[in-house]
Each structure stands twice: as structure tokens, then as C-alpha cells.
Subunit: 388 residues, 4 copies
């Protein structure tokens, strides 16, 4: 039995989620074609690295991610750090011949994403970007419906990603509002997921025109960190929010299809309103991550008396679901998406095939993000081709 | 008991709907403060005018709408003709001192709408534009929620109007695709309704940036008319579609709020997907006309353990519902909206008050429509103030 | 043009609803094959009779329903009185050769309903019972689906009728809680509607076993009447509630299918939760009157990857909808069901055909109601054949 | 750090699910107060036992469950065998002083369940029955709402459990249709889950009256086993289905509340339609496992203009959710319920407290199941007190 040995860089919440996913992969998918092995965890916070290592049974830990590059026992470097560290780690890892698994967005800028993609493609390593929402079996189902032409030519894509965890102005400042670390706000952090649907299901974008807004101009800084449960005292210092709370942009696809994507981290009323509606000449699809076990399908080709949106529960007929449950509707959760993603990575590495979505896929999303930012700055339509 | 005597201009489907509404008003609302009386119907099609007159008990009929202007027995001129005839009839009616009830959109251009509004305001007559979806009791409920500050400051408006009655390319050409008669397509015909929500519930728009698309480039011309049930033979001549099947535009409100409106007459999968979502700093509202007896309300100010969108069925606590039913959830229909609209007109005329939505309200919508068209033509953001 | 001249007995809320429906019929359906004419209204309350007559243009009014029996200008007697008056009026009308339109339930007991049915069948007059929820175009659609075998053999019927207008113990006593006038409570008033679906869509019942409950044992008596908006003062006298707030009963159909029906007038949370779910060997249907423009259809015969409940909006392909609107999803309301019902009556009388649902249909429902009451009293399964 | 060492008896699908849950517990909840350790797996099928042991890292395996009883390294015996083996294993385990974790239903008969409960209580061991649907954080939320009196006195419980994995008559015979192994059909297998809600949220049942139906009288026997993916050839032998496809029963609670529970394994159209609606004097709750991240809450005490069912996504304010995600709506899945269950067991054993739901809870459900069967056989209402 082959092993895929993993070095996780970043021992925070997402590093833990990845470790959990790797540990669960063989329990769900079995041990073929390979078993992931937690080899090493790196974090500048020594305590965090050590704790994760012990808890999840990593063979060792380090405070310097560079340690893992020359380590022959490491097959894949898994990057779960803040966004600004993705490029140096990914490039170094690829140059060291390691496969690279990187959380989304691939980078804060298209230029950095391009350097990462070039490095990885030159090195010929397997890459995978953590757009885990694509791993829901429903997305493979939707893709097959579209590819078979069952909804005809796609005319319109309408996508969102709203959450309201920042709606309350008392929620303290977090690194996600720090432009240097996070890049853009709702755009890069959230709309990038919506763009992953757009790119997977509809295809290449020709041009965009967008607007952004920051409605809560400053937030208090919590003393003890900036996680989801952090609380700032009433007299805590305030810091300016440096990126967008809300983004909305128009899309013209190369195919001629039209689109709109919206994202908001102050999307009051919505918890995980990551949605798409795809209208074609013969049918349509609707999906929301809030009801992640359901895909809505409409066929205009049915008899007029019986047309309507149909709620299809994902099941063993759809990709990967059968590894979990033998009948539809039992209920996958968010963590299960991450398990499928980790499994896809392991399979690609073990079989020498490309993984999906790879760095090039992630780069294309970064280019759209940059084009949206440029269109906001210059108040005009921007072609994706304007972004190098 | 006072009477409000009505002259309907246009004996088509919408003229019939208005006549039905007027006839039903006293059965629902009683006879106070006034009774509408069907006085005269005008239509160039003599047969249509005569038939409607006989069927609904109009006192008389005519083939020339100018006949009604000097008729002292007419209190209000009700215009249900194609859009291009709205301005001459409305202006002449106002100048003749008649109150004017006009179907939406008020006009095909803001300039025409302005002339109509000026004429009506100068004459001091009551005006009402048929944005009947505003008459749903749910909209008054939503307005009250917003005005009381219960969802806080509005940050985002997301509106749509999708229908799929034109999705099938075999549906023949209709006057709605004729730019000269109808003006724009989905924009003026459908998005104008969405704009009526936006204007009523959120307020003044500062600037817009939009795009349009025509996906079915030409349609066959049916021999026997162009109603919803018309069918063209396979060898029927084809005619170019002259306006937009789909429109999408970004909005910046004067308040700083952001918005997107989308409309499509090839909105596959949607039957009456006239919707809005309004996100505020403290709560949110969602509404779809497909479920016209329900308003969704969310309060972020509730305890975290119990926050969620609530489905409120319209009922006797909301405007006008009590005239129909004593308890909530019994079920209003589209025609009931029109009855409320006709009643509002009658009350305004009888009591000498302004009606809502009046010509100025309709003019503001026409200005936004023109700004969107200009932004599409010139591929840039357009201020509403650029439209005279 | 033939006229169908109507005598309405009962000038209350329901009498007004019938009058409105008759007046609207020709506006929706045209004047063929006949026009309903409001001939006379009878009510012991002279003021109510006179007011309704004037408001709706009845030719005359009377305080004694017997007056209409010998009146040759009356074609049909329309009974909208409290339940206990249905039998004497209906029998006398039939014996006088009048067609009879009677609100539901047909009677308070099966014995009375039988006498009414026998009298009408002997006289050969047209009869129609006001189970207006059957008139929703969605029910004709569901019936066609079942009759074509598209959901296979029906195995299970699950029906409800919950409303919460009596949930609040401060809502005063009404005639609906008076056993002498209303008979049973939620059972006869509400479950009878659910039974009308059951009988129409599934068929004959063999036996039942039920239970009832009265959770609010007494209510205050309002001084000024007992309508939905009545309010009793804190010191008002109290009166015992004499019939069921809630009923639930098991059903075995003659076909072998199984069923449950539940109804509650203290059905907290539900506004018009008149629903059914019908599970067959090949598919299923779900309907709720709260969303009266939608029917849910499921086909187990579709490919496993695409099975799911489909939301079908009623439209012109379904019975009667086309008389209202040319495209689906525009929105019928409760009053539109009543218009269809009144039209069905007029057509039947004008064409000499039977109307649906007739007295025999209503009688079968009364027999089930009596069987349920007997099963509650005797705490055992009761065959419908035990009810004469 | 304390360890809780587990012996799993039964290496099938459910045994694997338990092993996965135990392995995941520390990744979600951390290692305090104790870590579960997979000590030994027992299965008469040696290959299955060995494979599970190797795959999940059990210290050892055996083909005889009796081996684990005297093993001092075993703290808890976890029974995932077919139902008929629950009693002997559980009783022997308890007598050996082992804590016992047993899949539901506790036993096929109340008598057996009583023997198990008596043995466990006498031995003073911790017990837990695998009614995992109770572990959804939404149920703890619902329980708190009810206990705080926020929906007032409960008047009505309406529960279901429909799945359609057996709707197709071509699905082969499985052990679930074998009365000797499985006991009843939909009643014991599915309605027992619904009863677990009823018992947890509403309380003690006084009497029941039920009916059952077997609509597919015989099924073909698949050569290669009877799992969810088994297929029988067209010429396979047929075997009579020995228990109920469908069950429906009326409930009278000790409190006076009324109820109905229905379950069907041929519940066409439903995938995991495990639902309840609880109507109280002041509010109501609705839940369906098909949307397991949502609880519907209604408060009749809100202002009349704003009453409606609210969709509350489960989140960190509800029990155990916070161990998974820091914000609501992220999406738990079925497997996460099982992780919570396994964690609850570990905590109870480590802290010496009782676990929930224990054998006594499971016994009460078995008593109701037996009462329903008796009521079906004898066609009458049966008191739970009639069941020993």
C-alpha cells in the first residue's frame, strides 16, 4: 500500500480541519490507492504546532515551514496559512518537488497566483486549491447536467455568497479586514467561492464591472485574537476596516452569457448563502449551500402542465456520495466536503494524475478578482485579458 | 353616495382586467367613500370596444379616445393601451381636467414621462400608475418595518423579475419586442416593477451601470395576433427582436446603499420571480411574488440562538387585507392586487388626496430606465441626474 | 342568452362571498353558456338582507326563505346559512324543483344529508356542495395524474387542516363551538374539506378509528356577535365549548390504502394548513392550501440520479386557470376558487348536466364524519357501512 | 488522560460507522475528559472482523463476542449486530460489568428490553441506545424551548419517518423484512426514531391505536447479501415479507396531548422524512431530518402582524455544534450526529454520569412499539400499562 505523506503548514482552525479530513479519508474511502499519513506540522506558534502534532499523531512538528522542503519523507505540502503566505510557501514547495495543496484564494493577487502556477507547472507537481464547495456531490451532478446539454445553452449565471457573521458592528477586527494579509474582503474571501462555481459550471469570463462597499468603517481590536468567537472590550482601540464588506459585479462570459455575482460578510439574514442560479435555453439549476444536500433542477422541455423546479437530494448516483451512504438524503456536512477534497488529492498523487481544481483554475479566479478590483477603482468595465 | 366615473382607453386584456377590478371594488370595500362607475370604453377596434362595453355594462363605447376628454360624465381616464400611446392620451386627459390612471411603465422615455407628469401636476389632477405589485399588503408591511427602523440602515437591495414565457424560441414575436411600441424589453416591462419596490422601500438612486442581452435574435410572426397564446406556423416570416431579453444592472443609492436588479423574459424556471431581498444593519426582508401571500422577515437583534428568517403570511393586520378576509393566510391573488389599486384610485379621487404611486413616482422609474439604457450604450456608470 | 337566477339564503359573510362570485363569473368566464343573475336574497335579519340586496343589485329581498320556493323567477337556491338550517331549506327547495347549491358540510349528520340527497335525486335537480378547495386547478391536475396511473397504486393518504384562529383562549365563543348549530368542531368544519380531497383523489373509505380533543374547555361570550373579529370583555360570561378543537383519525380505504386525517382549529403556527400527501407505488403528490398556486409532484420512475419533488405552478394547462391568466404562476386567490365553483354550477344548470361535487359526494363525507364520531364515542374501529 | 476502551460487536456497515465516530471524537471534541480507544472488534465473519480491525487500528479482533466479556482491557461493549442479538450480548456485557452502547431499537420486544434494562441497572453500568437523531443540536434546542414553556402546553405531536428505498418492488428481500431477526418493520426500525423525539420532547404515552400495512407482499432474494445495493436476478426465489411496510398510530399522552406517528419504508418521494410538528398553546416547532441543520420555530405570542414560522439554523448556541464550527449554518451531516453520540458516551463513562438516551429510555420505546403491535392485532386502543 502506498502512502501519501503530508506536511501541513499552519496549525490553526483550517490546519486542524485538514488534519481531520486526512485522518478520515481512509475510514470513508478505504486505503486504496493510497493512505494519507500526517508526517509533519509547521507553525511559527510552537505551542500550536506541538499541540496539533500530538493530538493528530503527526510524526513531528516544526516552527519553520522551510524545514519541510528538504524532507524526503514529505510528499505534499498543505498550506493553511493566511493568504499572504501562500505564494512563498507554494513556490518553494513546488521548487523542492513537493506536491502542493493550498487553501483558497490561491493568492491575494493574480501576479502572485501566476508565479505560483508557473512554478508548479514547471516542477510538474500535483496542485489542488481548497475550493471545497466544488466537492459537494451536487456540483458534479450539476456539471454533468450542463455538459450533457440538458439545460441547453447557458444564458445567465446568478451567484451569491452572503454570511452575516460581521453584521454586528461589535464583532471585532480580524485579519480578514487587514488588506495586507487578506487582500480584498468579501471579494477574495467569499466571492472567490462563487467564482469557483461560475468557472466550473459556466466557463471563461470575458469582462467584469463591479462595485464594493465598506459599511462598517472601523472595528474594535480584541485583545485575545481575532477568531470567530473573539470579543473586544468597549474601550478597545479601533482600527479601520481596509477592504470590502460587500461586492457586486456584472459578468460577461466569453460565450456571451451574462452574470452577476454578489458577496457580503454583513449579509444580514444569511448564514451560508453561497448560491447559484444557472438559466439555460432549455432548463435551469439552483443551489444553495445552506441546503447542501439538495440541487434544484428545472427542465423547460417537460410538458407544460408539469414543469417545475425539482428538489433532488444528492445520493449514491452522484460523485463520491456512495462512499458515505448507500441511499440519498442521509445528509453530508461541510466536513465531508473537505474529506472528499483530501481524498481527491491523495488519489491524484497516488495515480500521477492532475487534481481538480488545480493552481491554474485558482489563478483564473485570481485574475477575475483583480479585474473586479480594477473595475471598481477605475469605474469601468475591465477585460480579464487586461490582467496579466 | 359619490360616484367616480371611469373611461377606459384600451379594450384588450388589461382593459378587461381594469374593468373587472372596478366592478369588484364595491363588493370588497363597500360603497364608501365612492362607487366606481364604468362610463365609457374607447378602442380603435370597434368590435373590442363594443364587446367590452356590453359585457361589463359600460354606459357607452367609442373608437376615438379623444371623445372622452370633453365628456363631463367622465371623472378619470384609465389608459391600458400599448406604452407608446400613454403620453398623448395622458397629457390630453390631464389638460382636459380629468384624473389619470395609467398602466406601467408610465412612458417609454423619461422625457415623455416628464411631460406627462408636468401636465398632470399643472392640472392638479389625481394620477396613479399601475405598479400593482406595490398593492400587495405585504409591501405595506415591509415598508412599515423599514420605516420603523426595525431592520436598521438598508445596506443592500437585490431585486429580480424573471419569467420564462419567452424562453421557447418558438413563441412568436409580440409587440413587447417592438422597440417603437414597447421601448426597452425586460428592462421597461419587467425591471420597472422591481424598480417600483426599490423606490418604495429603499429610495432614491444615485447612479447605475448595466448590461443587456438579446439571446433569441429573431422570432416568427404569428398571423393571428401576438397574445400569450399566439402560435406561429413553421413557415411564418421572421422578425428581429428589437430589445432586451435580459437586463442586469448595479445600483448605488443616494443613501450609500448598494443594489443589483435583474430581469429576464427568458428566465427559464421562473414563473413570476419578481423578488427582492433587502439587507439592513439590523435585519432583512425577502419577498417573491411567486408566493405573494408571504413576506420573509429576519431580525438580527433577536437572541443568537433563535435568529432566522420568518415566514409571515399577510393578514388583516396588513393594509387592505382585512377587506378580503378576517384571518391571515386565506390567499389573495393577482386580481386582488388590481382591486386594491382601483380602490386606492377611487378613494383618492373621492377624498381629493394624492394617490400612490403617482406620475412623479413613475417618472423617477423612467429616469432610472433611461439611465440604465445610457449606461449600456456608453458602457459606463450613469448618474440619474444626467437624465433630464 | 340564458340566465341562471339565484336566490341566496343567508346574508352573512358567506352569502356575500357567493354574491361576489356570481357577479364575477361572467367577467372571468364570459356569458356563455349562461349568466348568473342575483334574483333574491333571504335572511331573517331584515337589515342584512336589504343591505346585501342593495349592494349587489339583487332584484329583491325577503326575511323568509320559504318565499323563494314558489318563485318561478328563481332557478337555484343557494344556502349559506349555519349548518343546522341546510336540511330543511335544501329539501324544501328540491321538492319545489329548484336546483340547490349548499355550503359545506352538507349537514350536521349523515341522516340529514341522506334525506337531502334523496330529495334532490328524486326531484332530479342539480346539486352542488361548496367544497370550494376542490376547485383549485391544482386538484384537477392531481386527479389527472392519479387517474393516468402516473403515481401507480395509491398506498397512503396523509391529510390535515390546521388553522390557529382559535389558539388564543381569549378568542370568544362562536357558533362553531355550539354543537346544536355546528355539529362537530374541527371534524365537520375542517376535516370535511380534507375528506373532500381524500374522496376525490383516493376514493371510498372502508373504516375509520379516531380521537378528538377539546383543549380550551370554555370561552367567553362576546356581546356583539361571534365573527372572526369579535372580542369579549374580561368579565364576559363563559360558555362551555361543545365540540372538538382537534381531531385525528386513521383510515382504511376500500382499496386497501391507508390514511390519516388530522384537523385543528388551535393548530398553532398554521394559517391554512389544508394539506395532503398521497404516496403511490410509482410516485407521490403533496399540496398545501397555504401555497395554493403550487402542486408538488414526485415520480419514482425517473432516473435515480434525478428523482425529487417538483414544484408545479398551476397554469393554463390545468382546469379553469386559463380563464384567469394566460401563463402559469400569476396567482389565484381564495376568491377565485369560489368563482370557479359558481361557474361550474351555472354551467351544469345551463347544460343540464350534473355538477361536482354533488349532494351524494357530500353525503359520503357526512357518513365518514359520523363514523369518526362513533369511533370516538365507542373507542373502536367503525365501518362506514355501519352508518346508514 | 483517561481512555475509554471500546469493544465493537458487529463489523458491518454500522460497526464501521461507530468505529469512524470513535476515531473522530477527539479530533472534534479534543481528548478531555477521555479518549476512546478501539480495543477489539468481534464478528462471526472472521474476514469482516479482521478487515475492520486492520483498517481502523483495533488492537485485536475475535469471532466470538463472548471473548470480550472477560477482557479487562474493555470498558464498553458496543453492539451493532442485528436486533435479535442485542439482548444476549447486552445482558452478558452488563453482567460482566461492562458499560453498554447498543444500536436501536434496544430489542425486538419490550420483554427483552426490560431484561436488558434490569441487567444494566442492576450492574450499575452506563448505557446508551443509538437513537442518534436525538444528537442533532436542533433537538437540544427544541427541548430547551419546550422546557422553558415558550410554546406553552403541548397539545399535539405529529411525527413521521418515511423513506422510499423499498418503494421499488424489485429491491430484494433484506433481513429487515425477516420478523425473527428484525421484529416489526417500519414500526420498530423507523417509527422508533420518531418515538424517540416524542418521548424526549413531549413525554409519556398513555395509550395507542394503530394500523399496519404490507403493500409489497414478497420480494426476491438476492444471492449476494441484502445490503442497500443488493440486486436480485429476475429468476431469484421469492420470499414473503413478514412485517409492516407502513405503520400509522394514534397517541394519547399522559398529559392529555394528542398525537399521530406514521412511518413507511415505501414512503415514495421521501428520502429521510423523519419529522415532527409540535403544536403548543403558545407556539410550535417543526423539524425534518431532510434539512437537519434547520429547526422551525413559531411563537403565537408575537404581535399578530409578525407571526410566522422561523427557520433557525443550528449553530454554536445549540448543544455540541460549537465543537464543529464557530458560526451557524455551516452544515452538520449524519455522521456528525454519530460523533456527538459517541462523545456523549465517552464523557458519561469518564465522568461516571448517566448517558442519554439510556436503556430505560429505549425500553419505554419498546413498550410503545409492543402496544402498537397489540393494538393492530386486537384492533383496539391499548394502554402502555398493558405491556409489562
Amino acid at each position: 500500500m502506498k502512502e501519501v505523506r503530508v506536511a501541513i503548514v499552519g496549525a490553526g482552525w483550517m490546519g486542524r480541519a485538514h488534519a481531520t479530513a486526512f485522518r478520515t479519508v481512509p475510514m470513508v474511502f478505504g486505503r486504496e490507492p493510497a493512505m494519507p499519513v500526517l508526517e509533519v506540522v509547521a507553525d511559527v506558534n510552537e505551542g500550536a504546532a506541538k499541540a496539533l502534532a500530538e493530538e493528530f499523531g503527526f510524526a513531528r512538528w516544526t516552527t519553520d515551514w522551510r524545514d519541510v522542503l528538504g524532507d524526503p519523507r514529505v510528499d505534499v505540502v498543505d498550506i493553511t496559512t493566511p493568504n499572504d503566505l501562500h505564494p512563498p510557501i507554494a513556490i518553494a514547495a513546488a521548487e523542492a518537488g513537493k506536491h502542493v495543496y493550498c487553501e483558497k484564494p490561491l493568492a491575494n493577487t493574480a501576479a502572485e497566483a501566476k508565479a505560483m502556477t508557473d512554478a508548479a507547472e514547471k516542477a510538474g507537481v500535483v496542485t489542488l486549491v481548497g475550493f471545497n464547495y466544488l466537492k459537494n456531490p451536487g456540483q458534479g451532478f450539476a456539471k454533468a447536467i450542463i455538459d450533457k446539454g440538458e439545460i441547453g445553452a447557458v444564458n445567465l449565471f446568478r451567484g451569491t455568497f452572503d454570511q452575516d457573521f460581521m453584521s454586528d458592528p461589535d464583532v471585532p477586527f480580524s485579519w480578514r479586514q487587514d488588506r495586507k494579509i487578506a487582500g480584498s474582503g468579501a471579494l477574495g474571501d467569499m466571492a472567490s467561492h462563487t467564482l469557483s462555481y461560475s468557472q466550473y459550471l459556466v466557463g471563461e469570463i470575458d469582462e467584469v464591472c463591479g462595485m464594493t462597499g465598506t459599511f462598517i468603517k472601523e472595528r474594535r481590536v480584541a485583545a485575545g485574537g481575532s477568531g470567530h468567537s473573539a470579543k473586544a472590550t468597549a474601550d478597545a482601540p479601533r482600527r479601520a476596516v481596509e477592504n470590502d464588506d460587500v461586492v457586486q459585479f456584472l459578468i460577461r462570459y466569453t460565450s456571451g452569457a451574462m452574470g452577476v455575482i454578489e458577496a457580503s460578510r454583513i449579509g444580514t439574514g444569511r448564514k451560508l448563502w453561497l448560491t447559484y442560479e444557472i438559466q439555460g435555453s432549455k432548463g435551469a439549476l439552483f443551489y444553495t449551500q445552506e441546503r447542501m444536500n439538495e440541487v434544484q433542477l428545472y427542465r423547460h422541455t417537460e410538458p407544460a402542465a408539469e414543469r417545475g423546479y425539482k428538489t433532488v437530494f444528492i445520493g449514491p448516483e452522484h460523485p463520491n456520495y456512495g462512499a458515505f451512504f448507500p441511499i440519498p438524503g442521509i445528509g453530508l456536512g461541510y466536513n465531508d466536503q473537505k474529506i472528499i477534497e483530501a481524498h481527491d488529492l491523495v488519489v491524484a498523487i497516488a495515480t500521477g494524475k492532475k487534481a481538480f481544481p488545480d493552481f491554474r483554475f485558482g489563478l483564473e479566479i485570481n485574475r477575475v478578482v483583480d479585474a473586479v478590483l480594477k473595475s471598481v477603482d477605475e469605474r469601468r468595465w475591465v477585460k480579464i485579458s487586461e490582467i496579466a
